[in-house]
């Protein structure tokens, strides 16, 4: 059974072997979620690996200053999001290659979208997600892109399942409207 956030942070701040143990616990519990979050935007495992390393180094260096005003996951999510966007922006400038991701795949036989490619729709979805408030964005990413059950998201964000369903519903509606406008559907 894993430790709760408060105990992990307490352990981390004790220093020495306790710090390492707490950090290992953070990576074991939240690493896969952060990986999936980054990988949804980054093009490859190699890029995701580099970004995740940077994220975790920042976590190690700054966890002492975490004020626990949000859940630990929300704090990690923000670091991962900022690091991913900054990293990809730098990479884009350096290589000149458009690194917008293909987060979606078009289902076979969908003639309504045959004039578009997956990358174009994914790019629009990425832009649509960017317009959402943070909570809705988190819920949408965890529910739709990472396909986590509400029970798990509820633990990560410390929010009731009812509240999560409402957030997801609003997020999905906003994205749908955005995409329909952009795609003239």
């Amino acid at each position: 059974m894993s430790l709760d956030d408060k105990t992990i942070i307490r352990l981390f701040n004790r220093g020495g072997k306790h710090t390492n143990k707490a950090f290992n616990e953070i990576v074991a519990v939240y690493g896969p979620r952060l990986y999936a979050q980054i990988r949804a935007i980054a093009r490859s495992h190699e890029l995701t690996n580099d970004i995740l390393q940077n994220v975790l180094v920042k976590v190690f260096q700054n966890l002492t200053y975490f004020k626990q005003e949000s859940t630990l996951y929300t704090w990690l999510y923000r670091i991962a999001r900022n690091e991913t966007l900054n990293f990809l922006e730098k990479e884009k400038r350096r290589t000149g290659i458009d690194i917008d991701p293909a987060m979606l795949e078009i289902l076979a036989g969908e003639s309504g979208l045959d004039q578009l490619d997956e990358e174009k729709i994914s790019e629009l979805l990425f832009k649509a997600i960017e317009t959402l408030p943070e909570k809705q964005r988190q819920v949408f990413e965890l529910k739709y892109l990472q396909e986590l059950p509400y029970s798990e998201i509820s633990k990560l964000l410390n929010t009731s399942e009812g509240g999560l369903k409402a957030s997801f519903h609003h997020a999905r509606q906003k994205i749908e409207t955005f995409l329909q406008e952009q795609l003239n559907l």
């Binding site: 430790l3 990576v27 690493g31 990986y35 949804a40 180094v57 260096q61 795949e105 289902l107 309504g112």
Partner: protein
């Protein structure tokens, strides 16, 4: 009726293969090792606070010993020390002095002065000891268990 143009009915999120637990364990170990090897960065804004509190503590000690030296009477020291409870002294040391060795403190204070430094608790401030777990917080229990070397995960 469902919206025939609903984009979510026509696309699926791309599946992401998440590496196994070993990948994350190795990454955690390598970052811990590199961070522990790196010199600790202490924010500059914290340094003045440390020095100011250290100087304040030193000035307070000099002041207390000057009173004793000028009057040549040990009871003045007793009086000054008795104004401050042992609990307050301990909490001050706990909050403001990060690193100290009892042996170093003992070296600074001569034996004869140590004899004069008798700290007595006023009767009105007698500490009431209650043997009840209600008075012990979860944090104190966790601290105790960690100090004793217990693994919190085993106890969960």
């Amino acid at each position: 009726m469902e919206n025939p143009n609903n984009i979510f009915d026509q696309v699926n999120p791309r599946k992401v293969d998440i590496p196994d637990a070993d990948y994350f364990a190795k990454m955690a170990s390598s970052i811990s090792a590199s961070q522990n090897a790196a010199p600790k960065v202490i924010p500059l804004y914290k340094k003045p606070l440390f020095w100011v509190s250290s100087v304040a503590a030193a000035v307070a000690l000099i002041f207390v010993f000057n009173i004793e030296a000028s009057t040549e009477k040990a009871y003045n020291v007793q009086l000054a020390m008795n104004d401050v409870s042992a609990k307050e002294i301990l909490s001050y040391v706990d909050e403001n002095i990060n690193e100290f060795e009892l042996s170093e403190i003992a070296e600074i204070i001569p034996k004869e002065k140590m004899d004069a430094l008798t700290i007595s608790q006023p009767a009105s401030k007698a500490v009431e000891v209650e043997l009840s777990f209600d008075n012990i917080s979860d944090d104190e229990i966790i601290d105790y268990l960690l100090d004793e070397g217990f693994d919190l995960e085993d106890l969960n």
